[in-house]
């Protein structure tokens, strides 16, 4: 079999008609004079319907038609070619076919335009990609825009952040200042307390031993005693502020406590101030030192009264409250989130500005006139609340009034009945020869305690440190009570001594005394359950009552 070699080679016509692109020739006015089969197939027209009957621009969408006249034709005329124009061809069936057109202008011998050769590429897929790319690009631009916006507001956001940080630091500084002031006042009060104890003891000794009938000396001793008691109260308040007062926390029903105070409060407030108490039903119980809570409420009431010289209304409210994480996180001082019992004291008084509010808990800060206030009331309240694991919050508006909210932790799982208010005036009770061991490293203090107890009718043994005390205990099995300072010189503190002694004499009552303490006997300012403590400076009567009660139990 022979093959006609000629039939193996594509003809120019084949190449033209079946090219993968459309070929068009038009006159300078656009009239189509020649088109290949590819183009005819795409456009859906018969050759005879196109050639000589239609212009290229007739096949375009309206946008393309305008572009053809305003850009395409002028460009072609001026530069002789136009490349890569994205037209939409309108096919016979109405479909639009996206194409790219390249066009060359052919001139005649005289240099006049003779014919346009237009090459048309099917750009349907390409246009689809374009749209997707455009979409992606728009997304990217939006993201960039968003980033830019974030960057532009960066300064503002940083400023805001810094302001918040500064505020937090300020709060922290405030808390640290309170802490430092607390340390200082606590230290002073402690030492001062020891001195007061000696002073009180010696004045009492003088009072007892002064010859009858010497009225002048007796009066002088009374004045000295009175002043000393006031000094003792002052140091007590300082200790309270510095969270170093020994507390005796007990289960409290705050409603009962507030209700029980109304008579006292009415007398304190006077007639121009209306007292209103709003007590919540179903109030949880809390645990705190009831005496100190009462003190705190009286303190707040007195402040409120002073803020309402023209009269007004004092409201004491109780409520169950929940301090959530967000709230406590914003506080400078550590307060655990959870359930609290709220006692709020509100007045309709003058209120205070921000600067006052910031300093109001500082000791000796007072807005009252000289001689009218110690500046210790609110700081004492603050110290008590913090020491009781509570939280205190002050809200005030100038001219509107002030609300002080005390949050005390809810007491859960205690069946104890709320404490009854202890008797206000301790009864003076004498001893009947019982043997008491007094351990105190400060000789003057020891002498005062020994003297007082002997005066009360007890038999007293004394030791200056733990070692001496233990040897006395060995030799004197008749000892019925150990009275010891918490802090002792000589390496053994009161707590250890007590443990040693009670090992030898199980059940022996132990009475501790201290100015302030953060050690063995007082856990975070609280007495261990079942422990007895008498705070320095203690009075003769206090000591008498405490010792008698312990011996009788």
């Amino acid at each position: 079999m022979t093959i006609d070699q000629g039939s193996l080679i594509e003809t120019a016509e084949e190449l033209y008609e079946s090219a993968p692109c459309g070929y068009l020739s038009t006159l300078p006015d656009g009239t189509v004079v020649r088109a290949n089969q590819t183009f005819l197939t795409w456009i859906g027209l018969e050759r005879q319907d196109l050639i000589g009957h239609k212009c290229f621009q007739d096949l375009l969408s309206i946008g393309g038609k305008i572009f053809y006249d305003t850009h395409f034709a002028p460009l072609l005329r001026m530069q002789g070619f136009v490349n890569e124009i994205a037209f939409d061809l309108i096919c016979a069936d109405g479909r639009q076919l996206p194409v790219l057109a390249n066009t060359v202008q052919k001139l005649d011998a005289a240099g006049r335009p003779m014919v346009h050769r237009i090459t048309v590429f099917n750009a349907a897929d390409r246009r689809k990609y374009e749209r997707e790319l455009l979409l992606a690009r728009q997304k990217a631009e939006q993201a960039t825009e968003e980033l830019k916006r974030l960057n532009e507001t960066l300064e503002e956001r940083v400023a805001q952040e810094v302001a918040e940080r500064l505020k937090a630091e300020e709060a922290l500084r405030q808390a640290q200042k309170m802490e430092a002031v607390g340390q200082l006042t606590g230290g002073i009060a402690h030492d001062f307390n020891n001195l007061l104890t000696i002073i009180v003891g010696n004045i009492e000794l003088l009072q007892r031993r002064l010859p009858e009938g010497n009225e002048r000396l007796l009066r002088a001793a009374d004045h000295a005693m009175e002043a000393t008691r006031r000094a003792a109260t002052l140091t007590q308040r300082l200790l309270a502020f510095s969270r170093r007062q020994p507390l005796e926390p007990k289960p409290i029903d705050a409603n009962k406590l507030v209700a029980g105070m109304s008579e006292l409060l009415r007398r304190t407030l006077g007639e121009t101030i209306v007292l209103e108490t709003v007590l919540a039903g179903g109030l949880w119980r809390t645990q705190a030192d009831p005496n100190q809570l009462e003190n705190a409420i009286v303190n707040l009431a007195v402040n409120a009264r002073d803020a309402m010289p023209g009269g007004g209304k004092l409201t004491i409210e109780t409520a169950n409250a929940r301090l959530d994480e967000a709230y406590v996180e914003a506080l400078a001082e550590p307060v655990p989130p959870g359930q609290y019992v709220l006692v709020a004291v509100s007045d309709t008084g003058t209120g205070m500005d921000k600067a006052t509010m910031e300093r109001v808990f500082e000791p000796f800060f007072t807005t009252k006139g000289v001689g009218r206030g110690t500046g210790l009331g609110l700081s004492q309240v603050y110290g008590f609340v913090r020491q009781s694991n509570g939280h205190i919050r002050i809200y005030s508006e100038l001219g509107e009034g002030t609300t002080i909210k005390i949050y005390l932790p809810r007491l859960i799982g205690s069946d104890d009945e709320p404490a009854e208010m202890p008797a206000k005036a301790p009864v003076m009770v004498k001893g009947s020869g019982e043997t008491i061991l007094v351990v105190e490293d400060e000789p003057a203090l020891r002498a005062y305690a020994v003297e007082a107890l002997r005066d009360l009718g007890y038999r007293v043994l004394e030791a200056a440190d733990g070692r001496g005390a233990l040897s006395i205990v060995e030799r004197h099995p008749e000892i019925e009570l150990l009275f010891t300072d918490v802090v002792l010189a000589g390496g053994m503190n009161g707590r250890v001594l007590a443990d040693e002694v009670t090992q030898r004499k199980p059940g022996l009552p132990v009475l501790y005394t201290t100015g302030y303490t953060q050690n063995a006997i007082v856990h975070h300012g609280r007495l261990d359950p079942g422990m007895n403590l008498i705070s320095k400076p203690f009075s003769y009567a206090d000591l008498a009552a405490k010792v008698r009660r312990m011996l009788d139990d």
């Binding site: 305008i66 034709a73 460009l75 005329r77 136009v82 490349n83 994205a86 455009l134």
Partner: protein, 273 residues
């Protein structure tokens, strides 16, 4: 160089005294006049310029507010006239610049001797009885078209897609080197052009005008040219054999002949009144 001269890429040639100011239309730049001006250089002072955003103009001078209507472009024409102290001007405007020239002549009629209006249209969109040749949606179609297609895909779409607008050289290989136009401005100009309606201004034109109307002009159909003629006092109307919208390019000889015939005509403007 004064700022307006630089801003609009103003070129002055010709050996004559009377100024002939050429204004290109929507689409290209002063290159549009390359086949026309040689015929007038001997007798006239030829002034060519590019509208802001086109050709060699300073695109940074583009102010979307100013150029939102044709008045902003007429401002520039008058600024050029003032800067070059042009008087007795023969203004030759193509396409939309025909109307821009008419607006300038209304504002400072004393500067203008004659107007040659090539393919003018006072309004492109049909309006009741008025036939402008386009519907509103056609113009939207053009704007869409321009989005993907300014002067060739590579110079328009590639930078848009690739985000290399600051590296135009990447798209230049295959594209069209004449009539360089900022795509955003071109689109803005298209909007100002095709949405314009200056029919009410026509009776205010006191300058003698020639209307050169092409056959089969899609942009400014014959009916529009005739409307111009009827509403432009004392205008002359010439229906050309040339087809399309750019006789200055496709039929320069016919265009030149019609202009010369008009310029020789001594008929005074008073005829209009």
């Amino acid at each position: 160089m004064s700022s307006i001269i630089k801003q609009n890429n103003v070129k002055v040639t010709g050996r004559g005294k009377q100024p002939m100011l050429f204004a290109h239309g929507y689409g290209c730049d002063q290159n549009m006049w390359r086949f026309i001006t040689p015929a007038f250089e001997e007798q006239y002072k030829i002034i060519l310029f590019d509208h802001v955003g086109h050709g060699g103009s300073d695109a940074s001078a583009f102010d979307p507010m100013k150029y939102a209507s044709l008045d902003g472009y007429a401002d520039d024409v008058l600024s050029i006239c003032r800067e070059l102290d042009l008087k007795d001007i023969i203004f030759v405007g193509h396409s939309v610049s025909a109307m821009i020239g008419a607006l300038a002549a209304i504002r400072e009629p004393e500067r203008f001797d004659r107007l040659v209006l090539i393919g003018p249209s006072p309004r492109y969109i049909d309006d009741g009885e008025y036939v402008g040749g386009f519907k509103q949606e056609d113009i939207e179609g053009l704007l869409d078209f321009l989005d993907s297609n300014h002067l060739g895909w590579s110079s328009t779409m590639a930078p848009v897609i690739m985000g290399n607008a600051d590296r135009p050289e990447l798209g230049e290989e295959l594209t069209n080197s004449f009539c360089r136009t900022n795509p955003d401005i071109a689109k803005h100009f298209a909007r100002a052009t095709f949405l314009s309606d200056n029919r009410a201004d026509l009776p205010s034109v006191k300058t003698k005008a020639l209307i050169l109307q092409c056959s089969q002009d899609v942009i400014a159909p014959e009916a529009v040219g005739r409307y111009m003629h009827q509403n432009l006092p004392g205008s002359e109307f010439v229906l050309m054999e040339a087809t399309g919208h750019c006789p200055n390019l496709s039929a320069p000889e016919e265009t030149i002949a019609a202009m010369k015939a008009f310029l020789r005509d001594p008929a005074p403007i008073q005829a209009a009144a």
